[in-house]
């Protein structure tokens, strides 16, 4: 159904106004698609088999083969269902089995239904295609990358990857919020296991713990959101829920209903590393690079975006929530970009870049274009995964060296050509070089931002961040891949087991020889690079006003109400309309950033250091480089405000429990009989006359009482 030309031709605020009340497609049951349960079963089976292989201490690449087969088959199944349906088919529900399903009567809140069922609409398929596709490719990459770990560690890695895919599939394909929550926590678990893969490094263990706990803080928001939804709408299943939204169950309702999007937002921010819950993502780089590429760049971190896109109709009922999402996204983007500019570890730069780009996606959702956000997710998945994988290839080849001050000119190192040129392609996309996929997707988001008066400031923020993005991206590329050839190997590549001897060949008499990547790595890099190129096509077509695949997918899903992009033609600033503004400034700032990076990091590398020293010595700007390098002290603030406060509280409570409750009350109560006994002990001193006195005293008291009663009853009368 080709609605888009109509939409585009409608003039001001077209994409916004006419879609705002568009009908959310109604889902139907499709039991014939039950074979899609295999998409969940296959990673589960490969996880079990990998676990078994780990227990059997198998030393070959079988776990990788099994995982790649499972994920590849899952991808094929998803592709099959997509091709057989087409983007405009109605959503379907595939019920697999009853999970939590009970009712205790008729009426509101008398039943609760959360089954293991799949909800397939085009948004699901869009996400699943790139999740399973990239998952398969990255598993292939990892089969070579992790070969130094062959043995139980290798199998454990692929176990983690399989669990991740299982959970992510459950999250994306769920038909109710509780199954989504299961997937949500499951990806957190996989992330925990994989970040802590090199579990003998305390930093990795700490990073894994931090990731899980920060995610849990977000999950609290998600859980409360689910409960609020159940209480307010009586169901947690999508089909019934969206019907409720459509029937206008909406803007009226108390503050508890308005709270729902904020709670869901908290969950999304935790999972997608936005302010204030973003510090776990850079630390997550402790995990092996394929993990960073798959989980922390392309798939898991997009779960938050998916949640908000899925719940778009709910969010659109609450403009404040949308604004909050947009602003947090924008601010995170800027903040992360500033931090990324000052980091030296390549993976850390890319991690902060991911946080920053996720900020763009949330900005897109907040300003009202789920299409822009989804498209940015899609393009970012490809180019960011590509960048991480190239960083991984560099790490693999240089014994773990990731400091960009210690690597240079790698494009001239034999064997690293593919790595460097694909890294260039990824960098161009990330820096939003004109007509790359990144440019096109960012364009959509920023145009939408400028189209609404209240988001214009945010648009400028986005443009500024785009400039910074271009700068730090090319800082990496110019330092690492360009310039004179020079490299220093790292200390170790994959943990300190000491039982593999493949990293580098430092035992050669001549010194260190880089370990060039072979087919699995190069092949995957090339395939993903092709993906980066192809992912630009839908954006290009959107630019020319033609209907494109991604927009179709979003339009036919529950995010239909935000599937358009505004085409405002009134000038916003400098006499340019939003589209022109973004184009001019976007290209200008992007190229400017690249040129500055060129100057500071290729042409005259010492310039960067001189600049930094100049900034630091000047009292007005001295704080800037320090803060940026120290990540704005966010980690330290959290440490003091939460960890230490909690630690002190815990000790206080422990003291309270042990000494006051246990010591004073319980043991004290136990000492009461003893104390009472001691009270009377002086009476039993062994002195005969003492005993006699006591007896006499008692006797006198009794007599006195008798006499008193006798007299009182008129005894003497």
């Amino acid at each position: 159904m080709n609605l888009l030309p109509l939409v585009l031709a409608a003039g001001d605020d077209a994409g916004h106004g006419s879609l705002a009340n568009a009908a959310i497609p109604v889902a139907t049951a499709a039991p014939e698609l039950a074979w899609l349960g295999w998409v969940l079963a296959l990673p589960a089976i490969s996880a079990c088999l990998c676990g078994l292989l780990a227990a059997l201490r198998v030393r070959n690449k079988l776990p990788a083969v099994l995982t790649v087969l499972a994920l590849g088959t899952a991808f094929a199944l998803i592709l099959k269902v997509y091709l057989s349906r087409g983007p405009d088919a109605a959503p379907v529900i595939v019920h697999l089995w009853d999970w939590m399903n009970f009712s205790w009567g008729e009426g509101p809140w008398k039943s609760f239904q959360a089954d293991v069922s799949l909800y397939l609409d085009s948004l699901t398929l869009l996400w699943m295609l790139f999740v399973t596709g990239l998952g398969t490719l990255i598993a292939v990459f990892a089969s070579e990358y992790m070969e130094g770990e062959r043995g139980p560690g290798y199998a454990r890695f692929f176990f983690g990857v399989s669990i991740f895919l299982l959970a992510m599939s459950a999250l994306v394909m769920a038909d109710n919020l509780v199954l989504l929550y299961l997937g949500w926590e499951g990806v957190g678990l996989a992330s925990y296991l994989l970040i802590g893969f090199y579990y003998q490094k305390p930093s990795a263990v700490a990073a894994a713990k931090k990731a899980f706990i920060m995610n849990r803080v977000g999950d609290l928001g998600l859980a409360v959101g689910i409960w609020l939804i159940w209480v307010n709408y009586g169901t947690v299943e999508y089909s019934a829920l969206f019907q409720a939204f459509t029937e206008g169950g909406g803007a009226q309702g108390g503050w508890d209903r308005a709270l729902i999007p904020f709670c869901l937002m908290l969950g999304a921010f935790g999972k997608s590393a936005q302010l204030p819950l973003f510090t776990w993502l850079p630390d997550a780089m402790e995990g092996p690079t394929p993990v960073s590429a798959l989980i922390h760049a392309a798939t898991m971190v997009t779960a938050g975006v998916y949640l908000i896109a899925r719940m778009q109709p709910l969010f659109m009922l609450h403009p404040d929530a949308m604004a909050t999402v947009a602003w947090i996204g924008g601010l995170t983007a800027l903040l992360a970009a500033t931090i990324g500019m000052a980091q030296h570890d390549i993976k850390r730069v890319f991690a902060y870049s991911t946080v920053s780009q996720l900020g763009y996606m949330f900005m897109g959702l907040g300003v009202g274009t789920a299409f822009g956000a989804a498209y940015h997710v899609f393009t970012h998945a490809f180019f960011k995964a590509l960048l991480f994988l190239t960083a991984g290839a560099v790490m693999h080849g240089f014994a773990g060296q990731l400091d960009l001050r210690k690597l240079s000119g790698l494009r001239r190192v034999p064997g690293f050509g593919v790595v460097c040129w694909t890294m260039l392609l990824g960098s161009l996309a990330l820096a939003a070089f004109p007509f790359t996929s990144g440019f096109l997707s960012k364009d959509l988001i920023l145009v939408q931002a400028f189209s609404e008066p209240r988001f214009v400031a945010l648009g400028w923020l986005g443009l500024a961040t785009a400039g910074l993005t271009a700068y730090y991206t090319f800082r990496v590329w110019f330092r690492v891949c360009a310039g004179p050839v020079a490299y220093t190997p790292g200390e170790e590549a994959h943990g300190d087991h000491g039982d593999h001897a493949h990293h580098g060949h430092a035992d050669h008499a001549g010194g260190f020889h880089p370990h060039a990547p072979r087919l699995a790595i190069n092949g995957v890099l090339l395939l993903i690079a092709v993906g980066v190129l192809l992912s630009a096509v839908p954006g290009y077509m959107a630019l020319r006003g033609e209907h494109n695949w991604v927009q179709e997918m979003v339009y036919h899903s529950t995010a239909v109400r935000a599937a358009g992009v505004a085409h405002v033609t009134t000038p916003v600033a400098f006499g340019l309309d939003p589209h022109g503004l973004v184009t001019v400034f976007g290209i200008g700032l992007g190229l400017g950033g690249i040129l500055v990076a060129l100057w500071l990091h290729l042409l005259d590398r010492r310039m960067a250091d001189r600049l930094r020293t100049a900034l630091r010595s000047n009292p007005l700007t001295g704080w800037l480089p320090t803060c940026m390098e120290n990540k704005w002290y966010v980690d330290q603030i959290y440490d003091v405000a939460f960890r230490q406060a909690a630690w002190i509280t815990s000790h206080l409570l422990h003291f309270f429990d042990r000494h006051l409750i246990d010591g004073l009350l319980v043991n004290g109560f136990g000492r009461l009989p003893m104390m009472m006994g001691r009270l009377f002990q002086p009476l039993y001193n062994g002195a005969l006359q003492g005993y006699a006195t006591t007896m006499a005293g008692g006797l006198i008291l009794v007599l006195a009482w008798v006499a008193w009663r006798w007299l009182g009853a008129g005894g003497l009368a």
Binding site: Y684, N685, G686, A687, L688, Q689, A692, T693, A696
Partner: protein, 116 residues
């Protein structure tokens, strides 16, 4: 036998004639003296003496009540008391002698081992 009948008919009407009252008062005073003496004295024999005093005070009380109720049971009981007192005196003084032999003193304060 008339006296017996008279006494029997007088049983129902228990009156406290002055003689009975004096006797009861005397008994109470004697008991009090005995009690205080027992509590205050340290010499074991004198403590025993005071115990005997209390016992005899009880005997006098029995006589007084017997007179009040015109029941000869009171006087019978006094005989019992005297007998028991004699037996008990023998035992007690025997114990006192043994205790004296242990500690060379008749002071009751020297025996305080049975305490908590």
């Amino acid at each position: 036998m008339n006296t017996a009948v008279e006494m029997a008919t007088a049983t129902a009407t228990a009156t406290a004639s002055p003689a009975v009252t004096v006797a009861l008062a005397f008994s109470a005073v004697l008991f009090g003296i005995g009690l205080v003496g027992f509590l205050v004295r340290r010499n074991m024999i004198l403590m025993f003496l005071c115990t005997e005093l209390m016992l005899q005070a009880a005997a006098i009380a029995f006589i007084a009540f017997g007179r009040m109720r015109m029941d000869l049971g009171g006087q019978v009981f006094v005989i019992f008391i005297l007998t028991v007192a004699a037996a008990e005196a023998a035992l007690a003084l025997g114990l006192v002698v043994l205790l004296y032999r242990r500690r060379e003193t008749l002071s009751a304060e020297s025996w305080q081992e049975l305490h908590e």
